[in-house]
Each structure stands twice: as structure tokens, then as C-alpha cells.
Symmetry: C2
């Protein structure tokens, strides 16, 4: 045990911050060393255990996330204010602007591709909004670093189109309208939009904040609709009216996603000074998924579960993925820093212990992403189609900052 049950010494938190800081440095070094494409800009994301690129495809979610993360580190952490990081972010941004957007037939709308060849040719377009979301995050954060107002405007324009797809007319996404395909409120959508509102409004003037105020409330309301079963579960998919959906889709639990939504809501509740929302974020979106999501036998958070205890149909349901653990660390540390309730630090401590004893590759740096239920490495690459320079460094960055604040005010 890193922390003795119920007694958290300042010394332990300092040790913990030290470990986190070192992991962050190592992670940044790994991606600086192995992921850059000097020929075309942008980032390789399929990177093997030892750093070798095993596929040259460039996944757009991960391009956008890496640009965002580099810029965020460059802009807000002194020791990462290095030309090497800035140049890589700019090259990644240029690659995205040049290649990610694809004109979609007769609609006159632009979609972002999901995947590009090394030299930027579109390979696949998803019929969802997420490539666009990470494009916006990247452009807004990069525009802050380099002071490019056109780029910032472009991010806002893409945001307008995204809002239109979600709230007005989804036909531009290219999904056929089918009578059995009832529109649903899938947690990812209001979560991502809330995250984007926080990104676009951070430190901006009252005009921009006003512009997104109603959208933020809508997102919060849509996220809260996922509290179901008389307040005992966060269901991943509900109807647009906020009712439970039939079948597997309706019963799906995704503990890591609920925890991520939890800290999004918690951050928002602080900005809004909304204490009820703060309590809901912690009691519902953190405590519940921890209770049903933690594997009592082997430790770690399950990827998917069924609220009625049926076996999920996702083959990977029982695997332990790195990112839900990243979200849990941020969530419980943030919740503890705000409330100082010892049980929240205990949760953090338990997740920390599992995470740091299972995911980091002590031999070759960075983290493994995919473990078996029993905690053995199941896939040993450091980057893949869905794992890039994002969840690990975002978690370490946020935890380091929260610990910095806590330890600076340790009276």
C-alpha cells in the first residue's frame, strides 16, 4: 500500500508527485523520440514496445490529441517550454490543416477523416463527430500558443458545424436514416462537447463565454440523463429523453467513461460554483463506477459491464485498459483536492497502486495499454489506433498540477 489506510502523509503525496513527474518526463521523451515524421509532419502513432513504428497510418484522433497535449504542456509547464515541442506541435497542426478535412459530396460540409496515409491521403471517414472534436481541440490550443487568430476562428467554425450535427441535423455525418435506428444519447457526445466548451472558453472574454453558456448547460443536462436505475448506475447509452434503452446497448456500463465524465463535471461545477453538481459528479460519476467497475478478484477497472450482470458482447469487456485508470486517477485526486474527504484519497491510492504496478514499462519507458483481466500484458505496443500521446500524459500532467496545488497549500 502506498498510503496507509486513512492516514495520508504529506510525505507520501510528495513521493507520489515525484513518481508522476518522472513518468511524465519519460513519456514526453518517448514520443519526442519515436513518433515524429520529419518527412510529412504529423505523428506516427503505431509504435511498438521498443519505439519502432510498426504501421505508418496516421490516426486523426491521435494527431489532434498530440498537438493539443504538446501545446498544453508548452503553454502551461515551464520545463516543457522547449522549441522542440513547439516545432513538433506546429508541424502536427500543419499536417492536420492540410490533410485531415475532406469535402463530403454534395452537402458542402467538411468531415475530418479518421485515418490518413503517412503522406496525408484519407483512408477512412467515421460517421461520428470525434475526429472533428480532436481537430478543434488541437487548433484552439495551438492558436493560443502561436497567437494565430485565424486558426482560432477555424476551430470555432468547425465547432459550429459539430453543434449543428449534434443538435439540429445529423445527416451530414453520412449515416442512413433507418426506422429501427432510434436516436440515442450516447455519453461520449455531450462529454466531448462539454470538454470543447471548456477548451474554447478558457480564459476568454465574456462574449465567448456567453456564446457557449447554453450549450454547456445542455451538455451537463445530457450527461446527467445517464444516471439511471434510481441513481445507482451510470448507463453509457440512454434515449434522447433520458430513458433507459432496451437490450445490451441500454444496459452497457463503461466505468472509465463515467469517471472521465465525473471529472469533466467536477471541473465545470467549480467554475460555476455549483455545489450540487459537485456532489453529483463525485457521488454518482465517481463512486458508482468505482463500486461496480473495480474487479474485486484481480484489481483494476473492467472495460465494459452489463448493469444486470449479463455477459457483455464486447470481446474485450474484462480487459484492463490504461485509459480508464488514467481517468480514475484524475477524478479521485481532483475530488479529494476539492473536498479533502479521506475516502477519496483512499480511492486514488488504490487506483494509483494498481496503475503504477501494472501499466508502466519499467524497461523501455511509456505504458502498456492493454492487460488481461488478471493483469498480464496482452498487447505490448506503446501506441496503436486508439493509444497515442494523450491519456497517459494528460493524466500525469493533471495529477502533477493538482498535487502541486495541494502541496503548496498544505496547511
Amino acid at each position: 500500500m502506498l498510503f496507509l489506510k486513512g492516514t495520508m502523509s504529506v510525505l507520501k503525496l510528495e513521493e507520489c508527485r515525484e513518481r508522476i513527474r518522472k513518468e511524465l518526463d519519460n513519456t514526453v521523451d518517448f514520443w519526442l523520440k519515436y513518433s515524429h515524421d520529419p518527412l510529412h509532419g504529423g505523428f506516427f502513432t503505431c509504435i511498438g514496445r521498443d519505439g519502432k513504428v510498426y504501421d505508418e497510418l496516421k490516426y486523426v484522433w491521435l494527431q489532434g490529441r498530440q498537438v493539443w497535449m504538446y501545446c498544453r504542456l508548452y503553454r502551461t509547464v515551464d520545463r516543457f517550454r522547449k522549441p522542440e515541442i513547439l516545432e513538433a506541435a506546429k508541424a502536427g497542426g500543419a499536417f492536420l490543416r492540410k490533410f485531415a478535412r475532406v469535402s463530403c459530396g454534395s452537402s458542402g460540409q467538411w468531415k475530418c477523416a479518421f485515418c490518413l496515409t503517412r503522406d496525408g491521403k484519407a483512408v477512412k471517414i467515421q460517421r461520428t463527430i470525434f475526429s472533428e472534436c480532436f481537430y478543434i481541440m488541437a487548433m484552439d490550443e495551438l492558436s493560443r500558443v502561436i497567437g494565430d487568430e485565424d486558426m482560432q476562428l477555424e476551430a470555432e467554425q468547425m465547432m459550429e458545424q459539430l453543434i449543428c450535427w449534434v443538435r439540429v441535423d445529423s445527416s451530414g455525418l453520412g449515416r442512413p436514416q433507418l426506422p429501427g435506428d432510434v436516436p440515442a444519447n450516447s455519453m461520449a457526445v455531450p462529454m466531448m462537447l462539454l470538454c470543447l466548451v471548456q477548451q474554447l472558453t478558457e480564459g476568454r472574454g465574456p462574449e465567448v463565454i456567453q456564446k457557449y453558456r447554453e450549450l454547456a448547460s445542455w451538455c451537463v443536462q445530457k450527461i446527467l440523463q445517464h444516471i439511471q436505475r434510481e441513481g445507482t448506475a451510470i448507463l453509457e447509452n440512454v434515449s434522447v429523453e433520458g430513458a433507459e434503452l432496451p437490450g445490451c446497448q441500454g444496459r452497457l456500463l463503461n466505468p472509465g467513461h463515467a469517471l472521465e465524465a465525473g471529472w469533466f463535471l467536477l471541473q465545470f461545477s467549480v467554475e460555476q460554483k455549483d455545489e450540487e453538481l459537485q456532489r453529483t459528479a463525485i457521488n454518482k460519476f465517481m463512486e458508482l463506477p468505482y463500486q461496480y467497475g473495480w474487479d474485486k478478484e484481480h484489481g483494476g477497472l473492467f472495460y465494459f459491464l452489463d448493469v444486470d450482470g449479463h455477459c457483455p458482447t464486447q470481446l474485450e469487456w474484462s480487459m484492463k485498459l490504461w485509459w480508464p485508470h488514467c481517468e480514475a486517477l484524475i477524478a479521485f485526486l481532483m475530488a479529494y483536492s476539492q473536498t479533502k474527504k479521506p475516502e477519496l484519497l483512499e480511492r486514488f491510492s488504490k487506483v494509483y497502486e494498481y496503475t503504477f504496478s501494472h501499466f508502466p514499462d519499467v524497461q523501455r519507458g511509456e505504458w502498456f495499454g492493454y492487460l488481461t483481466q488478471g493483469g498480464k500484458v496482452a498487447l505490448d505496443f506503446k501506441g496503436g489506433p486508439f493509444k497515442g500521446f494523450f491519456h497517459v500524459p494528460r493524466c500525469l500532467y493533471m495529477c502533477e498540477r493538482i498535487l502541486d496545488d495541494m502541496l503548496a497549500n498544505k496547511d
Copy 2:
């Protein structure tokens, strides 16, 4: 060990046939008991360990496959010539004809949905050909049982459209043309088409056989293009010219699929009296995937591998699925029955031993579908979005028939 190494007694083969026959009876009973929807026709396919329906969605691949399998059993196995099976097949066929086909916008073409609600509303359409393939299989086999020539014609018309999508113009599938999305020869496509040619021509006159002759040759040639790396590997995806593709897609091995292609080719080689093709089917499509696909540590066939030994990006790569084992059983028993080479019976014996000691649910009937690498049940349902009344009964049915023939001619 079921068989002593190198010495296969007739008695053991008889025991084996007995076990297979019993498993087939149990499997048929399970689906007759739990999968029928008396209200709307068609079949529930999401069926839990104990037979309980945990989701009412009707997956079209599995509707088509169940109709086909019921009809095939009814038509060719005396003990399954039961009104109950015929009625269920007819109700399934009627459900498919009424609901599976969806008109696709302005193209004037029909697609089959991938998934329907219980009462037949389309939920999802895939941008591939497979729903249509299983629709054709179902309609052709059902038309043979009930003597419906219109239905048979309809199957052939759907086949024409399918051939057009694959060989002339794929735009009706609804995939956007993207510059980085280079057309590929994916093993599933020529395999399915060859399977359909065999279905549509079985026992038919020279006119029909002539009609599909050139297509069959094309399929065989396209399947043979997957022999790569100087004859040492069956790669799942190659270029349309038959060259290796870059990256993970190009390096992907799918041992179960290669084995299935193997017995499709072997069956075809017998019809054609093509001894060279027979040798290729066995030496390349059976022996190679067995060599690289068998898990030397835990037994069983891997789901996916990378020909250069990289870790596959599919999270389930190391799991043991029921269907590759079904295909392996058919492949090696068929190959042994044709060649009488003892090493092929040894392969069959090894796969048989693993399969029958891991997949059948001895308590509640039918087979588990998804095991961990170590052979523990990872998902305990009997039916799901991709597991229905198909691979298990097809395997048992074919193995029983091959054993019947072998044991009848055991001189």
C-alpha cells in the same frame, strides 16, 4: 489423447462420430428450444448461457445462416426431417424476405440490413456484402426444400447484384471513394463468393454450372493470391494484383479463416478433379495456418497474428474462438478422408481434443464461443451478434457425414 499418436483405430473414429452426433443433436435442441420468435418469426440470436434471450435484436447474418442450416439438415439428414425444423426455417425465411432488404437511396439497389429490431425494422446497414451473402444462402437452400422457384430466382438476382458490387462497381455499397483507401483483396470476399457458387450450383443442370464457371475460377485465383512470403504464409489482405499490402492490414494472419478457405478449396478441387489445387489447399491453407496459428503454450488456435511477429492491434488477438476450431476440424477431417495421410488425422485429433475439452458447455448444452488465451471461458453466452446457429452445427454436420463415409468404406 483421444488417438494414440500415429495409430488411429476405427474404434476411436466411431467414438468420435458418436460424440459429434450427440453434440449435433444437443445443439439443434438448444436452438429449437430457445431461439424461435413465435410472434414475429425469425430468430433471437443473443442467447445467454442458460438459454435466456438477453437482447431481442435480430442479426441478419445469423438469420440467414440459421435458415440455411435448418434447411440443410432437414434436406440431407433423415433424423432432422422434422416439421418443427421446416416450419422454423420457413418462418425465418419469411421474416428475412419481408424485412432484411432495404432500398438504398437513389441507386435503385437493395442492400440487406446488418441488424433488425425484433419486429423487423432496420437498425444498421454495413457497407460490405456479407448480409447479402447469407441472404442468398438462406433463400437458395430454402427454395430447394420447399420447391419455390421464385425464391430461387430471387437468390440468383441478389447474387448478380453482389457480383456487380465485387467485380464491376462497388459504389452501391455506400463507401465513399477516398484516395488513401486502396482497393484490397480481402480473403472473405472470394471465399464467400466461392461458397455461394457451390451453393447455387449444387445438383443443378449444366446451364447453371456454366453460368458460374468463370466466377468460380476467379474466386479460386483470388484466394490463391493470399499465399504470400514465398509460400510460407496465408495473408488475410493483399492488393487486387496479389501483392503484399503495407502495415498491419498487410501483415494480418487469421488462421481460422485460412483453414475455412482450405476446405472450401478442397471441396472445389474434388469437384474439379484438380489434384494440384487439392495439394495447395492442404499444404498451404491447412498446414501453414496450423503451424503458425496453434498456441504451443496453451493449445488452441489464435484469432489473429502478425506475420512478422508484431503484436496485432485487435484487442482479442490471443483469444480462442470457437469458429476457427470448427473450421479446423472440418478441414483436417476432409483432408484426411481424401488423402488418408496419417499426419492429417493427427492434426484433426489434436484440434478435436482441444475443442471438445474446452468449448462445449457440459452443464447446459451448446458451446461457449470465446475463451481467454489460457482456455478459460471469457464470454459465457451461447449466441451473440456473431455467434448463432451456424459454425457449431455446420462443423458437426460435416464431420458426421465425412465420418459416416469413412466408416462405411473402412476397408
